[in-house]
Amino acid sequence: MPNATLIALIPLLPLAGFLLLGLFGRKYFKKSSGIIGTILLLASTVLALYTAYEYFFVYGKVAGSYQEIIAFNYTWLEFSKGVSIDMGILLDPISVMMLVVVTFVSLMVHIYSLGYMKGEERFPTYYSFLALFTFSMLGLVISSNLFQIYIFWELVGVSSFLLIGYYYNKPSAVAACKKAFIVTRFADLGFLIGILILSYSSGTLDFNTMIDTLTSSGSTQAKAAASTFLGASALTWGAALVFIGGAGKSAMFPLHIWLPDAMEGPTPVSALIHAATMVVAGVFLVARLFPVFSITTPGVLEIVGWVGAVSAIIAAIIACTQTDIKRVLAYSTMSQIGFMMFALGVSGYGGEAGLGYTASMFHLFTHAMFKALLFLGAGAVIHYVHSNDMRDMGGLRKFMPITHITFLIACLAIAGIPPFAGFFSKEEILLAAYHNNTAIYYIALFTSGLTAFYMFRLYFSIFWNKTPSPPGEGRGEAHHSEGGFSMMMPLIVLAIGAIAAGFIPFGHFVTSDGTRLESHFDLQFSILPVALGLAGIFLAMWLYLKQNERPGKLTASVYGFYKTAYNKFYIDEIYLFITKKILFNLIGRPAAWFDRNVVDGMINFTGNTTAKVSEGIKKVQSGKVQSYAIYFLLGVIGLAVLFIYAWK
């Protein structure tokens, strides 16, 4: 049986790191904070790997299928009988896998940052934020309770906010972190309402109970959940709204706009949060509630699938046009997550039908490796060139060989070239799509071609293209090395991951229903995608290997489309319009005006009228003793008349 304390330590160690560095870092650990954070995280990584081993090979498997084990549960806040927010640890294949991924990538980033962030003024703060993020992310993946996941969901959001805004006096960074937080927050609104619906219709917040009650047809809750509202069952509404939350976090179209800007943060942060871990939280959430999603009618999975596919292709197209290397990577991330999403979308629950589920998780795993690698590599390049723009780069292969090789590996992996990791996961995804939804399959196919193209466009224009300009131009005098051991080691480790990860028989471990799933390749199926990938690569080579005017011609030929894509299909502008024009000018401003002038006006009006009246009646006090007598007489007569005639 699992040892709860050990597992609990996995998130708690980073938390300890956060508190330690956050409270005392600036004073006591100005220099050493990096090491402290790294060591703590190393510990929890080891624990995570241990746990994974234990789960997958010792106690996890009962009767041929992996169990969902509640290792620990504590009632945090009880609302009513059965409905309570619990803090718990839920062990099942995906949570364990995520534990490994998060701790591992986070560790890599910690190590990498030792070099990358050296000499930063707020070094301790940086590490405390990293630790906070790691803690929240780990808490998220082991959540046993829908509300618990929401709690950590928000914490992840805020730590991402803090890290994006790390360079807090850069206006662009501030804008970016605000944007990221608000957009995801908007998505979380959906999530929250979804939670309310699901909890109400299932009468619980606990995952296992909820899934059981809702999926077991005939249970009263299931019936209640079936009660329709606006043509869809309450359950469908709940699932859909929850998915909105997931889409927001995972930067699915049309909630993706925050992701590219989020690149304002330090590059290692982008590698950790906006490539490997946080952005896949949405995928994780859908996977976590997969049984619920799979029984909703009309199928929310349809929506999931299409949102994923559309995001994948749009992101890929935009990526082809960007020149900021981090933005290119950002869009590729979005596109890859699109793959995972629609993989879930096309999947079914249980058995062979669950291939998509497995594939999605598999891709999540591999993607974490090579995308982290890509970002860290890009980080190294930026660190070297002091620029994000690929037009300032070129011919760097001579100067930074390790980066070059590892980057190439990553590109091959993401392009889906065998035998690199990306190939296997992407194959499975395509296979799943092929069996269930042909339209999505073709989109996916085309997208994977594009992926290969834009990745290699990136690769060539960084490492080949121009003949290297002599030292002193475009690159800092400071370093002619490509960064120390602390920066290179993670690259190498991740590169190994990017090669090896593919050979893990993932289906044996992670499936929708925990039973073993044999993954089988038929070559003639995988010919097509690989061929497309290669085509993409060669196209990129033809355009960008040497400096030439072909790209210019090409863009000119499809200028209109290029422009649109270059401007990210003007989605940002649309958002801007909605927020600025509608929210602020059409609602906020009138509300404020109304409050000051109408509501408050009424209050003041009463006051002023009183004053006016008192001014108006002052003439009564005329100072003439005789007129006083008249009023006296009138008073007497008035009373007499009133009571003799009126009230008789």
Binding site: K618, Y631, G635, W647
Partner: protein, 466 residues
């Protein structure tokens, strides 16, 4: 008989005694104010204390004069008030050339009020009323060189003469209708016929005039503003209190038969009085005039309490007790300031806190008590008045009363604001208040705080009822 006479009319006799002492001093070689005033203060204190002993219930002259615990208590309140005035207005009194006369007049007015409270008969009541009002008119004229003073006095005497004319006509009609003028026999004769209501309306008019109920109130502000501040405080506290005592007694005992009539009358008059009083008080500049209108509004609240037949009396007496302290404290501060700086406008009070924090706190306390803000006694007094009014379940009536408390709060706060918040280049300079005044002010302040919190006082008054 003589024995009874001496015991039952004790308080009146003591006052008379003091008056005669003054008279002898006057026709004798006379005394300097500096010496006379302390003597007087002592005498009044003695009188006040004496009020608590040797009291007996009973009646004299065939029901014309009667007394009981409650009446004694009321008389004590009035004694206390006069004593406080003699302390608070010391500065002015010292300066006035005709101190003995002033006190003779004031005390004879007080005597009149005593008789009025004890009167068991319309004739007695009328005589007492005149005795209580004519001297006050003379008192109003005591700033002989001031034009305003004589104008105020003129307005006072003429309108009061007019009102007593109306009163007498009413009384004559009642006599015609019932054949009796004794309170004891009246209830048997009253039947609420139109003729009687006409007479009754005239009576109410006279009461309302003395109590300055709208629309019979118009003389009030002018007289208050015109007359010296001692007279003003006497008018606004003592004579109002006494007339209120008589009014409620008259309504509850002889005229209880006409309850339906006078309940409605009270409700109407109360509402008008509160509203008009407040509206006028809003825009006053002169502090005396301001307090005049505020006291009119207070009378409105007293009427609310009176309307709560048959339990209103306690609340009214209790309120007047508190009202004596609060209003006298306010007038006391006003008199100190106007004596030392000649300033009587609220705007002159700006920045007063810088120079005279003590006076400011006293005045603030007094005003809060008038406004009915806890923990001052005024809060309780006003609350019980309103509660008694609410006993008949007329929510709108009570709501109007409660809302009027807000308007009144507004103008009371105006003064507070002037003292504490507003800037001023030349505020009233530091004032050296003499000890007697200080003592009296502290006495009032203490009373304002304690009378409310010491709830047994209310129970004591309640116990006097029966």
């Amino acid at each position: 008989m003589l024995n009874d006479f001496l015991i039952l009319m004790k308080s009146e006799l003591v006052i008379t005694l003091i008056i005669f002492i003054l008279l002898f001093i006057k026709i004798g070689k006379g005394m300097k104010n500096e010496n006379l005033l302390p003597l007087l203060q002592v005498l009044l204190l003695v009188n006040f204390i004496a009020g608590f002993f040797f009291n007996k219930n009973g009646h004299l002259f065939g029901d014309m004069f009667y007394t009981n615990e409650l009446i004694v208590f009321e008389k004590n309140i009035l004694n206390l008030g006069v004593y406080l005035i003699s302390l608070l207005c010391a500065d002015w009194l010292k300066k006035t050339p005709h101190l003995p006369e002033f006190f003779m007049l004031m005390l004879s007015a007080l005597l009149g009020m005593f008789f009025m409270i004890s009167s068991g008969n319309l004739l007695m009541f009328y005589l007492a009323l005149e005795l209580a009002s004519i001297p006050v008119a003379a008192m109003a004229n005591f700033d002989l060189e001031k034009k305003r003073s004589s104008e105020g006095a003129m307005k006072m005497i003429f309108s009061s003469a007019f009102s007593s004319g109306i009163l007498l006509f009413g009384i004559s009609l009642i006599y015609g209708a019932t054949g009796t003028i004794s309170f004891a026999e009246l209830p048997g004769q009253l039947d609420g016929s139109a003729f009687q209501i006409l007479a009754f309306a005239m009576l109410i008019g006279a009461f309302a005039f003395k109590l300055s109920i709208v629309p019979f109130h118009l003389w009030t502000a002018d007289v208050y503003e015109g007359s010296p501040i001692a007279t003003t405080s006497f008018l606004s506290v003592i004579s109002k209190g006494s007339i209120a005592f008589v009014f409620i007694a008259a309504l509850y005992i002889p005229f209880q038969k006409m309850f339906e009539t006078w309940y409605l009358m009270l409700v109407i008059l109360a509402v008008i009085t509160m509203i008009i009083g407040n509206l006028f008080a809003l825009r006053q500049q002169n502090i005396k005039r301001f307090l005049a209108f505020s006291s009119i509004a207070q009378v409105g609240f007293i009427l609310v309490g009176m309307s709560g037949y048959p339990d209103g009396t306690t609340a009214v007496v209790y309120f007047i007790l508190i009202y004596v302290f609060s209003n006298l404290a306010a007038f006391g501060v006003a008199s100190v300031i106007s004596e030392h700086s000649g300033k009587e406008n609220i705007d002159d009070y700006k920045g007063l806190y810088k120079t005279n924090p003590f006076l400011c706190w006293i005045l603030t306390l007094a005003l809060f008590s008038l406004a009915g803000i806890p923990p001052t006694a005024g809060f309780f007094g006003k609350l019980f008045l309103i509660s008694s009014g609410a006993a008949k379940g007329a929510y709108w009536f009570v709501t109007v009363a409660a809302l009027n408390m807000i308007i009144s709060l507004y103008y009371y706060l105006r003064v507070v604001r002037a003292m504490f918040m507003d800037k001023n280049e030349q505020p009233v300079e530091k004032i050296k208040t003499n000890s007697t005044v200080k003592f009296a002010l502290i006495l009032c302040a203490a009373a304002i705080v304690l009378v409310g919190l010491l709830s047994w006082i209310y129970d004591y008054i309640q116990s006097l009822m029966n």
